[in-house]
Structures are given as structure tokens and as C-alpha cells.
């Protein structure tokens, strides 16, 4: 895994002095994924990271419904009802792909064979707990899909989310109030304002976008290193 903290300049480098768009966050994540990694991109926003992964990087995408070597979204003639991603969106197949059944697919995930998984979240705790499957509202129909399997499976679990809710509440929190998806599983959180490394000794700010560590510390109310 990439562990450096210096950022190469380039198209994915924001250095804009302003918060990133979520598409720019996707580009930042793509930049941090090591060449040749096996990666699972969660349903929703994380799926867009694929658009920022140059082919020459050789990243292989896993979709938990049973495929390695997933290609871009299928359009027009390429749409095949038998070939979708985990979000049930039609996708394509790249050379060197392989299909497998669900038990093998989740064995691959649970067994720690995938390098990186990126998911969205309602909340992440400073200790790496993840909440992204259930709002906890009593009238909400719970639906977990593969989120809990992904949370405990990949070597590195990254979260891609906005740092605050629409009403301004922090989503990186000392302790999750939403029902948990996994415990202590998230190692990095990518947001529009900053990227955080969640380490045993605390939360480290990896980079900021249009804000400062001091400002983040004050807005989040958590310890930052």
C-alpha cells in the first residue's frame, strides 16, 4: 500500500485552496490506489473512482456479485442483462476477467485477498468503526447487502463521504450513533475538506482542501494529529 504523505502534482492534485467536488475526491482516491491493486468500489459514489483510474495503472476491479476484471459502465449495444456490477448497473468485461459464484466471491473478500475497498458512509468513528447500512430509523427497512462483508474483508477499507451532513453535523465522530457495519475496520477517510488516516495512535490529517487542521479540529470536535 502507498504510505507516503507527499502528493505528486498532476490532474488528480487539487491544490485549489478550496473544498473538492466529490468527483475531485474520487480522483484523489484513484491517485492513492497503488498500481496493480485488486479493488472493490462500493455502490454509489465510490463507483465513480473507476473513471479516474488510468488503464496503465493495471488496477483490477472486483465486483462482489462475481467478477474480477470489471470494465466501465455498458452503454447501448454493450448492455447485457447478465453482466452488472454490485449496484445492478450494466457493466463491461475487460481482457483477463474471470467469473465466479457468490461463495467464492465473498471468500475472496473475507479471506483478505483484495487490497482496497472503498465505501460510502453515514458515519465513521475515529477508531475506524463504520456505519453505512442503516439509518437506525425504526420505519426504515434494513438492507445490508455486502457492506458488512466488505468492511471486514479488504486489506484496506477506505471511506469516501462528505465530512458533514446536510444539516452540518460531523460524520467523522468520536463514536458512531448510527448502527455499525463494522468495528475498527476503516483505515482512511476521504472527504471534500480533508483526507484522514485512522491509526492506532489517533486520527492523522493526510491533506486538507481549503481548510486547516485547526479549523477541522474545531468544527469536528475530535483530536487530530
Amino acid at each position: 500500500m502507498s504510505t507516503g504523505t507527499t502528493l505528486p502534482a498532476g490532474p488528480a492534485d487539487p491544490s485549489a485552496g478550496r473544498p473538492l467536488t466529490m468527483d475531485e475526491v474520487a480522483a484523489v482516491i484513484a491517485r492513492d490506489i497503488p498500481a496493480g491493486s485488486f479493488v472493490n468500489l462500493g455502490i454509489g459514489r465510490p463507483t465513480t473512482i473507476a473513471d479516474h483510474l488510468p488503464e496503465e495503472l493495471g488496477v483490477v476491479l472486483h465486483t462482489e456479485n462475481g467478477m474480477l476484471g470489471m470494465g466501465p459502465k455498458a452503454e447501448g449495444e454493450l448492455v447485457d442483462p447478465d453482466l452488472t456490477n454490485a449496484g445492478k448497473v450494466p457493466v463491461t468485461e475487460l481482457p483477463g476477467a474471470a467469473y465466479f459464484h457468490h461463495a467464492d466471491s465473498f471468500a475472496m473478500m473475507r479471506g483478505g485477498h483484495l487490497d482496497v475497498c472503498v465505501m460510502g458512509a453515514y458515519q465513521v468513528s475515529t477508531g475506524g468503526d463504520l456505519a453505512n447500512w442503516h439509518t437506525g430509523r425504526p420505519d426504515d427497512i434494513p438492507a445490508v447487502g455486502g457492506a458488512m462483508d466488505l468492511a471486514i474483508g479488504a486489506k484496506e477499507v477506505y471511506v469516501m463521504m462528505t465530512l458533514f451532513t446536510k444539516s452540518g453535523a460531523p460524520k467523522l465522530v468520536p463514536r458512531c450513533t448510527y448502527p455499525l457495519t463494522g468495528v475498527g475496520c476503516v483505515s482512511r477517510v476521504y472527504t471534500e475538506l480533508a483526507t484522514f488516516d485512522l491509526r492506532p495512535d489517533g486520527v492523522h490529517v493526510r491533506e486538507t482542501h481549503g481548510t486547516t487542521v485547526a479549523e477541522l479540529r474545531s468544527r469536528l470536535g475530535v483530536e487530530l494529529r
Partner: protein
């Protein structure tokens, strides 16, 4: 005795499914969903069913139609809530259908355990979450695991791409999903296929489900449903 039978109709394929059965239903969303067998099951009339499937129906077809017909007592699935799962949503909110949410990988692995004769297994998924409630926890090599039990089906209804007359199956792309696992986990496995090839027409190296796991095969015309755009 246990060799697969190629039957002439989907009605014949689903004959004998008893009220109260646990039925494993293949498919992930629409891909690999055995629509024709489900339609036949609706005609057949078995009720009070427990359905094990990844989702709880899409739109008004397949599982959703079975649910709408009032035949299902309980659904075990990983992801009931979808943009087009209005049939399930309404039944559940009315308290007319029971739901057990199982993480997707556990759903697969618990059926695999049933098919493989494993009594139970310790799984790291869902530890410390609400889905761990009531489950035995065990620490192994410093990590916590939950004890998970097999999910067995009385019947499996699945869809495959091609079969040979012995019952060997191959699938197509991600429509493979739960089919091979469910085929091992049910007492009786019923398969709809797009084509039955002559004996010897499948490469033995590429067979995904060996014949021993298949009981009834029926050929159906390929139907395409609108692919939904959301999960």
C-alpha cells in the same frame, strides 16, 4: 434415481413443492433470476413459503409477483430495499411478511455450508453490529468471530445458461451469482436453462455445477427484463 430429469414444462418442473417449503431463489437483482420457474410456482400455488434470495423482488415481476400473490411468509435476504422493491416494502410495512436480513457473503457461505455438510462455522462478518445479536461470539487467534449455521433449502429455483442431459450446468457472466451455491444447498434443485445441449456438449473442465447437484431441468425461451439503474 438421483440423476437429473429434463422435463417439458416449467409447471412439471415445480410440481410437488409443498406449502411451508424453504425455497432458495437464485439471481442478483434481475441477473440470473429464474423468472419462468417463479411464474410456474405462482401457478402451482404453494404458500407459506420461506424465500431465501439476495433481494426481495424488483418491480412487479419474478419474486415481487410471488410476494404480491401472498405466498411468502418470510424472506431471508441481504438487500430487500431497492428503488423498485415496492411490493416487498408495502407487505413488510403492513406486517404481512417477515424479514431476516443476512449479510450477502454470509447468505452465500451459509448455503455453501449446507451443501458441504459443515455443521456451523465462525465468521468475522457483522461482529459488533446489530446483526450479531443473539449469535455466539468466539475469539480465535485474537480476532472475534460469530457462529453461523447452514441455510438449507427444500428446493432451489435457479437459472443457468446451458445444461447437458446429465444436469451439468454452465452460467453466463454475473448471472452465475448464487446459482451454483444454491444448487448444492437444496434437497431438490430445479433449473431453467436457455439451452439443453447434447451429452458431451459441455467442456468437462468448464462445468460450473456438476450434475449431482441438479434434479430437474427445463428449457425456456430467453426473456429480457428492463435492467434497473439503481441498486
Amino acid at each position: 434415481m438421483s440423476r437429473a430429469a429434463v422435463v417439458e414444462s416449467t409447471d412439471e418442473a415445480v410440481a410437488g413443492i409443498e406449502d411451508g417449503s424453504t425455497v432458495l431463489v437464485g439471481g442478483f437483482g434481475l441477473a440470473g433470476m429464474p423468472f419462468d420457474l417463479i411464474d410456474a410456482l405462482i401457478r402451482q400455488g404453494a404458500k407459506d413459503l420461506t424465500i431465501v434470495s439476495n433481494n426481495a423482488g424488483n418491480g412487479d415481476v419474478g419474486l415481487a409477483a410471488l410476494l404480491a400473490a401472498g405466498r411468502v411468509r418470510k424472506v431471508m435476504c441481504s438487500f430487500p430495499r431497492q428503488v423498485d422493491s415496492h411490493v416487498f416494502d408495502a407487505l413488510h410495512r403492513e406486517g404481512r411478511i417477515e424479514l431476516e436480513v443476512v449479510p450477502q457473503g454470509n447468505l452465500a457461505e451459509r448455503m455453501r455450508a449446507a451443501g458441504a455438510g459443515i455443521g456451523a462455522f465462525y465468521c468475522p462478518t457483522a461482529v459488533g453490529t446489530p446483526l450479531a445479536e443473539g449469535k455466539e461470539v468466539r475469539r480465535i487467534d485474537g480476532r472475534d468471530y460469530l457462529l453461523e449455521y447452514p441455510i438449507r433449502g427444500d428446493y432451489a429455483l435457479i437459472s443457468a445458461h446451458r445444461a447437458d442431459p446429465m444436469g451439468n450446468l454452465v452460467y453466463r457472466r454475473t448471472a452465475r451469482n448464487f446459482g451454483p451455491v444454491m444448487a448444492t444447498a437444496a434437497a431438490t434443485t430445479i433449473v431453467q436453462v436457455g439451452e439443453v445441449v447434447p451429452l458431451g456438449g459441455l467442456d468437462p473442465e468448464a462445468v460450473v455445477t456438476p450434475s449431482v447437484h441438479v434434479d430437474r431441468i427445463v428449457r425456456v425461451d430467453t426473456r429480457h427484463y428492463t435492467v434497473q439503474g439503481a441498486r
